[in-house]
Assembly symmetry: C2
Homo-oligomer: 104 residues x 2
Amino acid sequence: MPDNPVNPVNQLDELLHQRYRLGIMAFLSSIDGAEFTRLRSSLGLTDGNLNRHLAVLDDAGYVAIAKAPVKSSRARTWVRLTDKGRAALDAHVATLRAILDTIG
Amino acid sequence: MPDNPVNPVNQLDELLHQRYRLGIMAFLSSIDGAEFTRLRSSLGLTDGNLNRHLAVLDDAGYVAIAKAPVKSSRARTWVRLTDKGRAALDAHVATLRAILDTIG
């Protein structure tokens, strides 16, 4: 990595860089949306931890969270990537790949 | 990213994943070592922040820090990657690339 007053690590989106949030975004990137429980089992997180990370992503506008009512049972929580989230993820991935490509 | 009880994000080294520490390791990966001030200017960090991140990497055995005496001036601080740090970085990069490759 060359000397650079604007080192690319400064361009990494810290909100997305957190490993579980990166995992959530990666999981959602190739599907239309996922149920909370499926995300939870994929990431191996507790309900509380997943909720906390989803709240951060939701506050940033990177994911949309909706309750889908299910007959005679609890509503299911669906999570999907927003266009803003997709754009942020694409930019993050490009920056990250550029950094990884400098590693000798 | 497929459903996986051991999602690869769980294998990311959190110590290395922090963006400035990733930047330090990336910077050191292609050179024999760097002076503290050069690292600082590359990363755009304050002395205190760089010292804090280097202490974490040093405690993990990922970098070696040495004072090189300089005639009639303050000792220069040299930082280099250790073999352990190189191995950890290589593993981290491989896991990260595998995650990025799942992003649709």
